[in-house]
Point group: C2
Chain length 360, copies 2
């Protein structure tokens, strides 16, 4: 049976109505739905409507604030800390990102760290917003513990993604959007469900040893940082994950490391708190603060074409440029709609049932 | 026979006199030697006096400018592009980094991209300078081609390092300093010399296939980006390397990617030029622009202790914190001096012979 597909517009309309149902102000409901749409559109299925049930449950339980008073608690011309008042990260994130972009437009560079916020969708969304203004953009967030530091046998860090975008002229922009773990947790869960083994370098067991058994990763083990074991420089992925955690969590006064609360109710993590909510960090640079923007974008085109023009490794079509897979997915999903798995469909029907917002 | 050791002061004195011999102004000679000293001190032997012969040869041949007029060619309060006038990167880098730090002190965040410069030593040096001012610091540089993009069979990128530093209070600071390739080229050359095989995930052969033969990497192959093959997310290391290249090379108007010139005469790379010299990028953030600096540093201490307190993986002593290995090496080298291999000693004696500066 083919997986049913739903149009982006239909999913967005449903999402807006669900947020509205919870008392999220109209503009914020539209904003939050726009971020989720970007995840579904770009093929990052784990970060689109697949998370709507979790958002719904937290709003329903009064755990997330539907109408936050987002405020700047400290700032300089090129920096700010934003307190998200425990709102949806899908609303707080875009507001804080706009502050970073405004600062970049004013003084050339703007960096904003955010506390008291929640899961913010795909990191790539924020740099795509920066690209609309021809800004170089960064977005990072910490997340609940899934990843072990190199040589550790306990989960201490999230998959802490980094997104970075560079505008191009005729070519599509460079859009990096990557977790700092080798793979997302979903890949481990999927292998476990299918009874498959996983490659070495994805996860460790409860003793901190590399394992090919996904169940051992889920039950007491954890994901490894990009690189994996020491021999392949897993300390580098750990360092990058730590950088994201400090910029997002420690710098803003949010929770960090093992204290970071989970994105959904009843999930592991953050039983002890050291700050407020989770943390994000946004950065923006004005290209004109460095170089004529037109010549910069022309040269980014040249960079992109140079990488694409690399002689291909045998058995491949040659290098891609960061952002290519998501762009290809976006074209396909705009044309054909978003495929929803039976599990996600069931979740959305639960949301529909519990909110009275019609689905299907 | 034990490897002879030389005191940091003796090596610094020799280095200063060599640069002085080439007409490098006194303050610049001291500055350049200070950067090289940091490499030797912190145990990054490939980036200390081991490179002095290459600097000497380029100055001797008139290829590097001993007395550059370093200037800001474009700026905003939080950004600048610096033209290094083809000076030593060991002099241009520190000057540009100071501009980034001054901007962070003025408006909270400062980012400086640098063109027309040369090899700048260890990236970690620059964030240690930022830490002296309690700033969060970044340093990046591009470098000549050694690394293949994922799915490529040609070298297109350098080992393009990223350094980031966060100040702590009672604990030593977090100092990340990492190449974006899985391993440095020196590890491949070393294995080849010793007739040893290398692990999968370090390099590819001329067809772009993973290889355990170091000779295949050296002869027509290349290093792989952090992560290695696709299954272990080599696209992420490639993306990070690309980020460094665009921020350092493209943004400043330097050369980038395969066009980046090599650090020494007669080495491969950069036969075609698309800009001026190599490129660096420095960033600095003022902690007080986000949060009370004392409470931030206390919380960084807590972060560090939390990571150190992770249950250790079997067979290890548990996680380190980025910067630990270099700090341990520094204590040892300050006490016992810097071990110099026969090859490096021979190089330094060549420098001594050609400049008339006494060594030993």
């Amino acid at each position: 049976m083919p997986v049913p597909r739903y149009s982006l517009d239909a999913l967005t309309e449903f999402t807006v109505r669900v947020f509205r149902h919870h008392g999220v102000p109209e503009a914020d409901a539209q904003q939050a739905a726009d971020v989720l749409r970007a995840g579904d559109r770009r093929g990052i299925d784990s970060h689109g409507v697949a998370r709507l049930l979790a958002y719904h449950r937290k709003l329903d339980a009064g755990v997330t604030n539907p109408a936050p008073q987002i405020r700047v608690v400290r700032e300089l011309p090129g920096t700010a800390t934003v307190d998200g008042d425990n709102g949806l990260g899908l609303v707080v994130g875009p507001a804080a990102n706009r502050i970073a972009m405004d600062k970049a437009q004013a003084v050339g560079s703007g960096w904003v760290s955010v506390c008291n916020t929640n899961h913010f969708g795909i990191a790539g969304y924020y740099v795509l917003e920066a690209l609309k203004q021809d800004l170089i953009g960064w977005a990072m967030t910490n997340a609940s513990r899934l990843v072990v530091p190199l040589w550790g046998a306990e989960r201490r860090l999230g998959t802490n993604p980094i997104a970075v975008g560079f505008p191009a002229l005729e070519e599509p922009p460079i859009v990096i959007d990557m977790a700092t773990s080798t793979v997302p947790y979903g890949k481990i869960e999927m292998a476990r469900r299918l009874g498959q083994s996983i490659p070495h370098g994805w996860g460790i067991d409860a003793e901190g040893q590399s394992t090919t058994d996904p169940a051992a990763v889920v039950e007491g083990g954890g994901l490894v940082p990009l690189g994996g074991e020491r021999e392949r420089s897993g300390h580098k992925g750990y360092a990058l994950s730590g950088m994201v955690d400090v910029l997002s969590g420690v710098l803003s006064g949010a929770n960090w490391g093992p204290f970071t609360p989970p994105f959904g109710l009843g999930l592991e993590g953050g039983e002890t708190r050291v700050g407020k909510g989770i943390g994000h960090c946004f950065g923006a640079l004005q290209v004109a603060g460095f170089r004529d923007p037109l010549s910069f974008k022309q040269e980014v085109d040249h960079w992109i074409r140079t990488m694409r023009g690399t002689a291909p490794a045998t058995g491949t079509n040659g290098p891609l440029v960061p952002g290519d897979p998501e762009r290809i997915a976006a074209a396909e999903r705009e044309r054909d709609g978003v495929p929803l798995s039976p599990a996600v469909l069931a979740d959305l029907r639960t949301v529909a049932h519990e909110t009275g917002v019609p689905f299907d």
